[in-house]
Subunit: 108 residues, 2 copies
């Protein structure tokens, strides 16, 4: 059991990108969204490993896309946040908000 109850940094990023993409979220688009929204590049391996972990923790669910899309390429695996994933994300933000609250970081 242990305790790793908190979302890792990258897990939060991936979850947020997934949420932003709504029903267009799948591995490749999530990677693109992260880069577009934040400028941060990530390997495709890192994305999927995180997605799988998050699904195993029930923070998101996946389903395969239609069998015959009108384009080349392997079928997509779509992801979406579960209620637990939404709660975890909100809890993470609250933790950070509390720590930032009242703090002023003066750039020396």
């Amino acid at each position: 059991m242990s305790k790793g109850n908190y979302l890792g940094e990258f897990e939060q990023v991936v979850l947020l990108a997934t949420a932003r993409l709504a029903d267009e979220a799948y591995g490749m688009s999530i990677r693109r969204e992260i880069e577009e929204a934040t400028g941060r590049k990530s390997s495709i391996g890192a994305i999927y490993a995180t997605l799988d972990r998050l699904e195993a923790k029930t923070f998101l669910e996946s389903r395969m896309g239609e069998a015959t899309p009108k384009r080349g390429g392997r079928p997509k695996r779509y992801f979406r946040l579960s209620p637990a994933g939404t709660r975890a994300l909100l809890a993470s933000r609250r933790t950070m908000d509390r720590l930032w609250d009242g703090l002023e970081l003066e750039p020396e």
Copy 2:
């Protein structure tokens, strides 16, 4: 240089607690501050391991407290954020802010 450019989740927490405590930041007080501000408990080993890692990355600096404090116990090792640590923290927050921006998470 390579890659680990981003702060981990717990690294951010520790850095923020250190910043909040200003010149009263040392291992034990940081652990206490995290718990008081967020309710999150952490082992003392986790705190120091992270503190050491953060110092190695030059995100914070440490110095030993005076040799003869008026109390029992081993001398304290005080920590404070470096300019790079401040920047890293601000960068982390900006990343999250960008991902949260315009997103509404509906609790189903």
